[in-house]
């Protein structure tokens, strides 16, 4: 009875050697783990038994299947209680189905009464379908495993991209200011005023480079009368805002512009 046999693989499932439990129920000490590794759960084990023993899925001999299933469950119950729970649940289901099939059936109702195995068959087939689908997926070429992605070196733009601003963004920003602060009346900005403002900045830049600039030098003669007027307005505005001082030492002496100093106040 207790003749010791080395585990011999009877089949290979996913490359794993599979050991069938000997008829005398002796399980080599490490065979249990092999079984647990080889099966993904009770459905998997049942499928294996059905397929291996050429049983008809649509007409499962419940007595035989249950008996074989119980052999496996018996051996995994003791050491792997937790895992075996799922297998035990299935065992209970199998026994229930078996017993329902033993119940005498009324000839008339037989047609209408669902086969107690139907749900089990549906689950077995659905699981088998997904099991095969998993094999199919694994067989597909996979990036990094079966082929590599091409990537030729190129100069990556290292510096962070700077935000872009359009004139419309500025308009909208101003609009937001208007709506929020109700500064409309005080901050009407016209084209003419903008030109003046631009020239104010330009004059300030000039005056920063040299302390005194002769008044006439601040005017550019090229662009025409409008330009002269705008420059003049800019100078007046700068003087009004106290940003520059305009001075003349004596009548008919040159007029100079310079940045305003506190001493001027």
């Amino acid at each position: 009875m207790n003749q010791i046999r080395p585990p011999t693989p009877l089949a290979r499932i996913y490359g794993e050697p599979l050991l069938e439990i000997p008829r005398d129920l002796y399980i080599p000490p490490d065979a249990l783990e092999v079984i647990l590794d080889a099966f993904e759960g009770p459905l998997d084990l049942l499928l294996y038994l059905i397929r291996r023993h050429n049983l008809d899925v649509l007409d499962i001999p419940m007595a035989r299947l249950t008996a074989q299933y119980m052999e496996y469950v018996e051996v995994m119950r003791a050491p792997q209680m937790e895992l075996a729970a799922e297998y035990l649940l299935m065992a209970a289901l199998l026994i229930e189905i078996k017993s329902r099939m033993l119940l005498p059936r009324q000839a008339e109702a037989a047609e209408e009464t669902a086969d107690p195995r139907a749900e089990l068959v549906r689950r077995l087939l659905e699981y088998e379908q997904m099991k095969l689908a998993a094999q199919g997926l694994d067989a597909l070429p996979q990036a990094g495993r079966d082929f590599a992605l091409v990537q030729v070196w190129f100069e990556q733009v290292a510096e962070a991209r700077l935000p872009q601003v359009s004139p419309d963004d500025l308009r909208n920003a101003w609009l937001g200011l208007l709506a929020r602060a109700r500064v409309t009346r005080h901050h009407k900005v016209t084209r003419e005023e903008l030109s003046v403002r631009e020239h104010m900045s330009r004059i300030l830049r000039r005056l920063r480079q040299r302390e005194f600039v002769e008044f006439g030098e601040l005017f550019e003669t090229g662009p025409g009368v409008a330009e002269l007027v705008v420059t003049f307005l800019a100078l007046l505005e700068l003087a009004k805002e106290g940003l520059i001082a305009i001075s003349q030492q004596a009548p008919f002496a040159p007029v100079y512009a310079r940045l305003f100093r506190e001493a001027d106040a």
Partner: protein, 183 residues
């Protein structure tokens, strides 16, 4: 205005340099939308043929076009880089298959089909690989998360869409198999 020969060289260069697949839209940007999708598709097809018989090939996957090496050369490349992506366990592969073919599914759905509990690590591994993602919740008590496969999953398996997955074995065929030795 570029001639189509130049267009081809530019497309090739961009595709060789891009670490990710490039969509037709992205490729159109290369030319400031000077060429329509139809023209580019034609040039890409030509380019694909130019690379026939070489070690790399131009393919069209879910998120666009990319160059990849042909499987026949993998054994050489493996010698350079012995690190390979993990070979997944049956638990992971079966979970992936159920998500791929039955999506969107909850963990409970997967457990119903497999007949065993699904370890969190299994779902985590697939999420970490970027192959599955939570796409919502089922409006039942407990609000279980619904999982679906990602575009990266399709890309990695060289597919353009889910309907390019291998077709499922039909149930009837599985029934017929009984009585035939199971491999």
């Amino acid at each position: 205005m570029l001639d189509l020969k130049e267009v081809k060289v530019i497309l090739e260069t961009a595709l060789l340099a891009s670490p990710e697949p490039l969509s037709l839209n992205a490729l159109r940007k290369l030319f400031d939308d000077e060429f329509g999708a139809e023209t580019l598709r034609r040039v890409l097809e030509e380019l694909r043929q130019d690379w026939a018989g070489r070690g790399a090939e131009l393919v069209n996957v879910a998120t666009g076009w990319r160059f990849q090496t042909r499987a026949a050369y993998q054994r050489y490349l493996d010698r350079l880089n012995p690190e390979k992506p993990p070979r997944y366990s049956r638990a992971v592969l079966e979970t992936l298959a159920i998500i791929a073919y039955r999506q969107p599914v909850t963990r409970g759905d997967i457990e119903d089909i497999r007949g065993v509990a699904v370890a969190s690590t299994v779902l985590k591994a697939l999420e970490a690989r970027g192959w599955i993602e939570a796409v919502g919740q089922r409006e039942v008590p407990g609000h279980p998360v619904l999982y679906a496969t990602t575009k990266a999953f399709l890309d990695d398996l060289n597919l353009r869409a889910l309907d390019e997955l291998p077709p499922l074995e039909e149930m009837e065929r599985l029934v017929d198999q009984s009585g035939v030795a199971y491999r």
